[in-house]
Amino acid sequence: MNLKISALDFVQQVQNGDISAEDFVAETIQRIQKIDDDLHAFLSVNDDAINQAKSIDKKIKSGEKVGACFGMPISIKDNMCIKNSKTTCASKMLENFVAPYDATVISKLKQQDAIFIGKVNMDEFAMGLTTEFSAYGPSKNPWNPEYVPGGSSGGSAVSVSAFECVASLGSDTGGSVRNPASFCSVVGYKPTYGLISRYGLISYANSIEQIGPLTRTVKDTAFMLNMIAGLDSNDNTTIDNKNEDYLSGIDSGIEGKKIGIITEMIGDGIDSTVLSATKDAISKLEGLGATCEEVSLDMVKYSVAAYYTITATEAGSNLARYDNLRYGYEFPVEGYEFNSYISKARQKFGPEVTRRMIIGGFVPSAGHAGKYFLKAMKVKSKLIKEINEAFKKFDLLIAPTVPVLPFKLGEKINDPVSLFLIDINTVTANLTGKPAISVPFAISNGLPIGMQLFANSNEDKLLLQAACALESTVKLPEVPI
């Protein structure tokens, strides 16, 4: 049984009767049992998965209508609610939280006969970009387990990269899908803000984050998007995509498209191998008939500072509900007054979450908001203006997903500022609401490099077409595990 196939191939083979969902899922679980002690992508594995696969096989045999996933095993970042299963956000604070409802993406995928193979690791409450801030221990990069897999959707990227599932859902607040996708050599996509419902996604910075698929191919991402995108009455920020089919015409190519290279994202601090990979990508895109030229987005310089100010503010509010009064972990209330109880209960938050909550209590506070939060909001709106201006001239923008190569576990964990700066190429898409995608592009000394494309709002289809074209220009080695 070959687990190393794309989602579209999986569907095809099950549909043709070449393989059964049950065999594939059983084999996948065996692989998880075999390799995940080392990689630690999973926080929990669905022990009913094989039974679910059996019943889908039955449906196929009896000629019943079967959903588009045909029993495809998908992993889910542990910040999305699946009814009756634990959803911990990789935090001790939610150690015992069992979600009583399904996130919208989950119910949509259930209808399409997907199998949720397990919940995967992440930085606690999605705050981090290495998965080292998980309260349950870090995930490892399958390309070299001494290296971080990126984050915060590290478990998603690892599980797709190491063939522990066919596809995964992550969430992207400042690059949390694209960054680990780049570090683990899989496709990672952050849609236009509002394209995918966030209902059931545990909020970190709700005004800028989106759920996004991590897959082996760009076409698989389009396939996933077809199932989970669109208006949702449970999320007032969703947009009507008129049931767009993102797979149709995905091979259209990029001939005649104008692509802007973002100057601020290939400047100071960029690793030389990442820079040469970027140049290579540009010449390959030109080879496909696109024209490329540099474009400056001045506000990118301030984007990381603005990003951390805004996300800390929203996190401070979004995470305030974790007072352990209604759900959480075992910690009796007797003998406490309200304030002393919650301050004690909230000590279960890990160091990075605590750090950001403290910042989040400070930057929007009376007397400081003008200097920090409101200034950050100004940077955000100026950045939106600049990028909109750029999209008047260009169809797409390009930059490396991460300016550096994956680094070793523990290397930067005690240096939050240098960690923050790694976000410089990804936060712009979140602050502006634009869609962006990371495509595996090169392997340098056994470590992956991802290339990032941006498109204007609601141009997700164009973005996927361009990503598909870029993907076709490279043939990358298989993960050595």
Partner: protein
């Protein structure tokens, strides 16, 4: 000079669902913590879904209070920790970054005094705290979240009131207005709550929180003014502070909480997109707005020549004016107004009695028509009305069952009149010279018929027999 400003919280009790989820806005009929869902419990991953109907109703209130309505409505988060607040922030509105709450500055007349409205905002009600245990040592706090997320409209006034009496007059007008708009039932427990700012000449402003009913609001204002005056007369400084209303002892008590020092870290609620209020929507709401109390009153006076005082009473109470609107026509309007304001009001003066009442608008029009056509006397109609409210039976059935119909058969009446004439020779004699005395004789006929004699016919026949 005494200055009083109010912050009134009014639940939109007539809405079907809460402000951000589909749980019931009418939480009162539920067992504790039965009217809740992931959204109003603020469970991880849940998102608010704005109840558009609540925005409309709140806007209608704003328009009725002559407030400006913004082009765009936005919601903000007010961040603070409290056990009745499932998310530890409240979704509310704010006008710091431009006017984005449902209503801007407006005003309403209270007698000759203009009371300015500062703003009107839409927000979610928190849950309800229940304290158990006697001493503070063993006291425990229980939380019922059934109320959490109920749509609440906050009406903030300028400090324009000069006396508790003015406050009461304003509250009466406001209650009638809210009821007439069909947005709220002020009589429901907890549907109307208020905070008051009170200051006297030369003193600091004192905020009184936690006033659970309109009735207590006037009392609280009165208490606070007396307290402040007494301090002032003894040259003791009136500290600027927050006090709360103790509704058992009916006094205000200093709150030791440092609520004034709280920093709410307001910022925009990104989960709810801005609501555009274009001219089309505003015009549509205007056209849907029920007729104002004043306009009803004027119409009753000018169209039906109903007396001013009767019109006032009839128009200010939605229950009575709705009955009137549904039952009247050109010819019986005055009679119906009369029945409602003289007879019905005594029968259904409480909410419970109204709920129990079996009377329909058809009963009212039947009754008025029967009085006008002489089928039943004004006197008997009172008894009939009582029976209608109690049983809901058809008027004709009640008339025959209780024998309330007028005696209008001429020969029967003539017989009774003859008896009266022979029993009252003196009065008959007087009546020939003094026409007033004839009314005395009519009264005697009425007595004999227990008020059922047709008064017009009786008079006619009497006159005939006397000449």
């Amino acid at each position: 000079m005494t200055k009083i400003g109010l912050e009134i919280h009014c639940q939109l009790t007539h809405l079907k669902s809460k402000l951000f989820c589909s749980c019931k806005a009418n939480y009162r009929e539920f067992e504790i913590n039965e009217n809740i869902c992931p959204v109003c419990m603020g469970l991880p991953g849940s998102l608010p879904r704005l109840n558009q109907e609540a925005v409309k109703k709140a806007t209608i209130i704003a328009m009725a209070l002559n407030c400006s309505t913004p082009e765009k409505i936005a919601f903000f988060r007010k961040n603070y920790f409290y056990p009745d607040l499932p998310k530890n922030f409240q979704i509310t509105q704010l006008n710091i970054y431009g006017d984005t709450s449902v209503g801007g500055s407006g005003s309403i007349m209270v007698g000759d005094k203009k009371i300015r409205i500062t703003r009107i905002q839409l927000e979610e009600d928190p849950g309800r705290l229940i304290y158990e245990g006697s001493s503070s040592k063993n006291q425990i706090t229980l939380v019922d979240y059934n109320r959490a997320g109920t749509p609440l409209v906050e009406i903030v006034t300028e400090p324009d009131f000069e006396s508790p009496k003015q406050v009461r007059e304003f509250l009466n007008i406001l209650s009638d207005l809210l009821e007439n708009l069909g947005v709220s039932d002020p009589s429901l427990e907890g549907a109307m709550r208020a905070d008051a700012n009170v200051s006297i000449e030369g003193g600091n402003k004192v905020e009184v929180k936690n006033i659970g009913s309109f009735h207590d609001l006037e009392k609280a204002a009165h208490f606070e003014i007396t307290r402040q005056n007494s301090l002032h007369s003894r040259d003791i400084e009136i500290v600027q502070e927050t006090r709360h209303w103790d509704d058992k002892r009916k006094i205000t008590v200093s709150s030791r909480s440092k609520e004034e020092d709280l920093d709410y870290r307001y910022f925009l609620e990104g989960d709810i997109p801005w609501v555009t209020m274009n001219d089309g929507i505003v015009d549509e709401l205007k056209s849907e707005m029920p007729e104002s109390i004043n306009s009803k009153k004027e119409r009753y006076i000018s169209k039906y020549t109903i007396p001013v005082q009767v019109s006032e009473v009839l128009s200010s109470d939605k229950y009575y004016s709705d009955l009137f609107e549904q039952s009247h026509n050109e010819s019986n309007a005055k009679e119906i107004a009369n029945i409602i304001t003289t007879d019905l009001m005594g029968l259904v003066d409480t909410r419970e009695k109204r709920d129990k009442s079996k009377m329909t608008s058809k009963h009212l029009s039947d009754l008025a028509d029967s009085i006008q056509s002489g089928k039943i006397s004004r006197n008997s109609s009172k008894n009939a009305l009582h029976e209608i409210v109690k049983t809901g039976k058809e008027l004709s059935q009640i008339i025959s069952e209780l024998d309330l119909g007028n005696v209008s058969d001429e020969s029967e009446l003539a017989g009774i009149i003859s008896e009266v004439i022979s029993a009252e020779p003196q009065a008959v004699e007087q009546a020939k010279s003094n026409p007033q005395t004839i009314n005395y004789l009519v009264g005697k006929v009425m007595q004999k018929t227990k008020g059922k004699a047709d008064p017009t016919k009786t008079l006619d026949l009497l006159k005939k027999q006397l000449t």
